[in-house]
């Protein structure tokens, strides 16, 4: 099945990306994680996202565009990255979610992709 991992970071996690003391460990953990995924034979699409302050949310209401700065809803854990890959089953996906660095302090959401029928 095709499955998407939504990696949710805490504000601490986002801060670690640029903090001179913590950044090396932060990036090394993710590099090791994605290397391990690739070495296990999974082809990955996706990547890291800028922190929530860089997000812009757009809605069209009554024909008018409404632009809001920031993500659509703020919570303690914000989307920090995502990737999509092919995995045999949920059990495998959960095992890989468990290994994701953010699982330890943020969380990882595992969602199977909706398989669309070929058109026509």
């Amino acid at each position: 099945m095709k499955v998407t991992f939504l990696i949710r970071e805490t504000s601490e996690g986002f801060a670690s990306r640029t903090d001179p003391e913590r950044a090396p460990a932060y990036w090394a953990a993710y590099a090791a994680y994605f290397d391990a995924l690739r070495e296990a034979g999974f082809q990955i699409q996706g990547g890291a996202l800028q922190p929530p302050h860089a997000a812009t949310t757009v809605r069209v209401r009554d024909g008018k565009r409404v632009v809001q700065d920031g993500p659509h809803a703020t919570s303690k854990e914000e989307l920090g990255g995502y990737f999509t890959t092919e995995m045999p089953d949920l059990e495998t996906a959960l095992r890989w979610a468990e290994r994701c660095p953010a699982a330890e302090y943020g969380c990882v959401e595992v969602v199977p992709n909706l398989e669309m029928a070929p058109r026509g």
Partner: protein
């Protein structure tokens, strides 16, 4: 003739429901659709059997009918969109020769593993198992778990949708994964039994106690190398063997120590003892074996010298090491009280303990009993009063009030 057919349909339904549904749902990878097809097949049987006679192998007949229903459904769907994966899997399955007179493999345990999947919420695992393996409806399950039928219905529907869409593995786990998942299966079976146990009235729990026993039988039979599966079956058999003795003729609550042992079911007890011995030989102790051993000790007086109370207390110590719950905490204090005097029991009761003890009826009942035995009559009365106030079973409430001299 027609009546025979009806009876045959009923017998097949009770007997084969879980096996048939497991077979269909594991192939179609969709419990909901399989349930619909199976109930259609039973309706077909009620029409065809009185007319044509009961088939030689009712179960195989029902399986064929249900598969036909599934395919019909899939074809209708396929007319609108691409043939679903479920239909493709089924088509592949029907190309295999029909089972005919040979019995097919029992896949109920695979279903149980699916129902007790760690990715399903804990509260839905036992109800789901009762529904898909034993065929109980949401209303019956809801009444046992004290949840309105509509709420229970929604929970079950959501769980089945999750099983269909979340990509769970349908095959039985093996190796380390089996070891990791088995406790969830056993816990759900025990929860199903526990929910039924609360209702001790004759035929109480909607007859569900005996049915949860069937789940434990399936697990023990299919996992002969798993000591805890045997332990759980033994535990349930010990409890079941006392079913007739749990209430007096007037419907009053009777504690185990005061039950008439002549009412205990010797056959069930003997089986439990054998299972517990077999489990111990596997050399992998665990929570359910310990609980079963405690039950064995509680009943020993009927079959020889009563169990040594210090040994029973030691079993409770062992249980508390694997399972820190209010129940295990209170039961251990009672055992220590029986072995080493009420002072020791009260000390064990008061030495900390898990959260929620203040609202836990057995905590106050055991405390009251220990206080009474220690000669602290007034405090005992107040504790009995408190326990009676927390009891949900009227028979238990009456018993506590009698003990406290407040009835």
């Amino acid at each position: 003739m027609a009546e025979d057919a009806l009876r045959a349909a009923e017998a097949s339904a009770r007997d084969a429901y879980g096996r048939l549904l497991a077979r269909l749902a594991l192939r179609a990878r969709d419990i909901d659709t399989a349930e619909d097809a199976l109930s259609d097949a039973f309706a077909d049987a009620l029409r065809a059997w009185p007319r044509d006679g009961v088939p030689r192998n009712p179960e195989a007949w029902l399986l064929t009918a249900a598969r036909r229903r599934l395919l019909d459904g899939a074809r209708r769907e396929g007319a609108r969109r691409r043939l679903s994966e479920a239909a493709a899997a089924l088509l592949a399955a029907t190309e295999q020769p029909m089972p005919g007179d040979t019995p097919f493999a029992d896949e109920r345990l695979e279903m149980m593993f699916l129902c007790a999947h760690p990715a399903l919420s804990q509260e839905v695992r036992a109800p789901l198992m009762l529904q898909v393996v034993l065929g109980f409806d949401a209303a019956a399950i809801g009444s046992v778990f004290l949840v309105p039928p509509s709420t229970m219905g929604q929970r079950l529907v959501r769980a089945k949708a999750r099983i269909r869409d979340s990509g769970m593995r349908f095959e039985r786990p093996s190796g380390s994964e089996l070891a990791e998942r088995l406790p969830f299966v056993l816990d759900a079976v025990y929860a199903a039994y526990g929910a039924a146990w609360e209702d001790a009235a004759p035929g109480g729990g909607g007859g569900l106690g005996g049915e949860a026993l069937a789940l434990a039988e399936v697990a023990a039979e299919h996992l002969p190398g798993e000591a805890e599966a045997k332990g759980l079956l033994a535990l349930i058999l010990y409890c079941e063997s006392r079913r007739r003795a749990r209430r007096s003729e007037g419907g009053e609550f009777v504690p185990v120590s005061e039950q008439d042992a002549a009412l205990w079911d010797r056959g069930a007890h003997q089986r439990a003892e054998g299972l517990l011995r077999d489990a111990a030989r596997l050399g992998r102790p665990g929570r359910y074996q310990t609980e079963a051993a405690i039950q064995s000790a509680l009943m020993a007086r009927a079959f020889g010298p009563p169990a040594d109370s210090a040994m029973v207390a030691a079993l409770h110590d062992a249980l508390l090491r694997t399972e820190i719950s209010a129940g295990a905490w209170v039961a251990r204090a009672a055992a220590r009280g029986a072995a080493f005097g009420p002072g020791a029991g009260l000390a064990a009761l008061e030495a900390g303990g898990p959260a929620g003890l203040a609202d836990y009826q057995p905590y106050w009942a055991v405390r009251a009993d220990l206080l009474a035995r220690a000669g602290r009559r007034e405090e005992a009365e107040r504790a009995y009063e408190r326990a009676a106030g927390l009891a949900t079973d009227p028979a238990v409430r009456r018993f506590l009030r009698r003990r406290g001299g407040i009835g």
